[in-house]
């Protein structure tokens, strides 16, 4: 049986790992390669690197980090943050990443999803979605709106529509981040995750709000997510991957374990 995946997310700024609380006041907490190795040995199923200060001139720093990570860890990992062309996707994949995640660039240019899927296969293309709860309206019938720039800019695009559209365009997976829940450690946005998971057939990674193993159990079982992104709850040593997986295994969630 296919396992549910536990995926630590490492936010990287200029080659260093950070974890933002609601995208503000980022604090440096370490070397991404060291943290990747730590999570690999602990039994993480996959890793996500998010380059939060991505810009054309800084891209090289991230490519170098990706290359060093690929020499140390032998599980799939994805890289996101500012990737806006097939050529940039190619560079990241050649450096050793398994998948690339596109976010605001795919909103500006949806063909990017199609082109990436055609060039590298759907399994390489993850659509990152940053979502905020809003009032239900004719433009946003689901009550969830796509936002960009770390939640500062509303796009007028309905999140449910965009999830289905991205699947049609060839996205292989959706990483669904609730801006409202991000950094709160009060649990995933359950209603949003269930809404999107039931609307698409591609895997959905729940993101934003993980604080306890119970939160992962809820989102993987009740909200039907295929994977759960975690950050603060393990970055600061509050929980270990092993503790989380032991909890999930006891509750009948299929997980991969190394012991």
């Amino acid at each position: 049986m296919l396992s549910k995946r536990i995926i630590p997310c490492l936010d990287v700024r200029e080659g260093k790992t950070t974890k933002g609380i609601r995208f503000k006041n980022n604090i440096d907490i370490g070397d991404p390669v060291e943290m990747a190795r730590f999570y690999y040995e602990e039994g993480a199923d996959e890793l996500v690197f998010y380059d939060i200060t991505a810009s054309a001139e800084k891209r090289g720093i991230m490519i170098e980090v990706v290359g060093r990570v690929a020499e140390e860890i032998f599980i799939p990992f994805s890289v996101g943050g500012g990737i806006a062309s097939v050529e940039e996707m190619r560079q990241v994949l050649l450096a050793g990443a398994e998948k690339i995640s596109v976010n605001s660039a795919a909103i500006r240019n949806p063909a990017l999803i199609q082109e990436g899927a055609k060039a590298f296969g759907s399994q390489c293309v993850v659509l990152g979605m940053d979502v905020k709860k809003v009032a239900v309206s004719r433009a946003i019938p689901s009550g969830y709106e796509m936002v960009i720039q770390g939640g500062r800019t509303f796009t007028g695009i309905d999140a449910l529509w965009w999830a289905k559209e991205s699947e049609r365009l060839g996205a292989g997976e959706i990483c669904l981040n609730s801006i409202d829940a991000d950094g709160t450690r009060e649990g995933y946005e359950m209603a949003l995750t269930r809404l999107i998971s039931e609307a698409v057939t591609i895997p959905v990674i729940a993101s934003g709000g993980a604080g306890t193993p119970e939160h992962l159990g809820q989102v993987l079982k009740e909200a039907k997510a295929d994977a759960a992104l975690i950050a603060s709850m393990t970055h600061y040593g509050t929980y270990t991957i092993r503790q989380i997986k032991a909890y999930l295994k006891d509750r009948g969630v299929p997980v991969r374990y190394l012991w």
Partner: protein, 212 residues
């Protein structure tokens, strides 16, 4: 020296990096002469069968792989490399190398799990292998472990005795084959964490004889 066959099919560097990490000498090569002269050969690959066979034929690697296999030295197939050792692939309706009898099939579509929920193709993620028997290249401590899969097609050998392990994803499909000096895996050991590296290490020490 282990040779990793380079036939312009996807990302070969991950296998090379994994062997480097294990401090196992290796080289990535598309030279048929070097393949024939190797101690061990890994036949990886990501991509489509049609394009892969075209590249193998145009470079003469198809014959080099057959010759190497007949030499009795250890050969490891990974993912697409595992598929094209069979006789025929339904992907692009491609005649393949035919080192072992059988075909490469696509997952049935639609596919659903035991509760009737639809399953996505490709089969992507961590899944376990139900090993059907012991094999010297598969250490016992890995038997319960999950491995990383990404594929839409799977090998279906003509004889049940060739199947070393099966995996469940909507259906039970062969995920590991073994025949004489050949071991062929549908999953990616180079992406499967410590157990995957363990299998690569075991292959690097295997003499190429099946226990049975």
């Amino acid at each position: 020296m282990i040779s990793i066959i380079d036939y312009k099919a996807g990302n070969l560097t991950s296998v090379e990096r994994a062997l480097k990490k294990l401090e196992i000498p290796c080289r990535v090569t598309g030279d048929p002469a070097l393949i024939r002269a190797s101690e061990r050969v890994i036949f990886p690959g990501v991509g489509a069968a049609g394009e892969a066979m075209k590249n193998l034929k145009s470079t003469g690697l198809d014959q080099a792989i057959k010759d190497f296999f007949l030499s009795g030295r250890p050969l490891l197939g990974i993912c697409l490399g595992t598929q094209v050792i069979l006789e025929f692939s339904r992907e692009n309706r491609t005649p393949c190398l035919g080192l072992v009898p059988g075909q490469v099939l696509r997952f049935p579509d639609p596919l659903s799990d035991r509760e009737g929920r639809p399953l996505k193709i490709p089969h992507m993620g961590w899944n376990t292998v139900d090993w059907t028997r012991k094999h010297p290249a598969v250490p016992e401590r890995f038997l319960q472990m999950a491995f990383y899969f990404v594929h839409s097609y799977f090998p279906s050998p003509g004889e049940e005795s060739l199947i070393l392990g099966k995996t469940h994803y909507g259906i039970d499909f062969p995920s590991a084959l073994a025949y004489k000096n050949l071991i062929a895996l549908q999953f990616h050991p180079e992406k499967s964490g410590p157990p995957g590296l363990g299998l690569l290490k075991a292959f690097s020490e295997w003499e190429g004889r099946d226990a049975e």
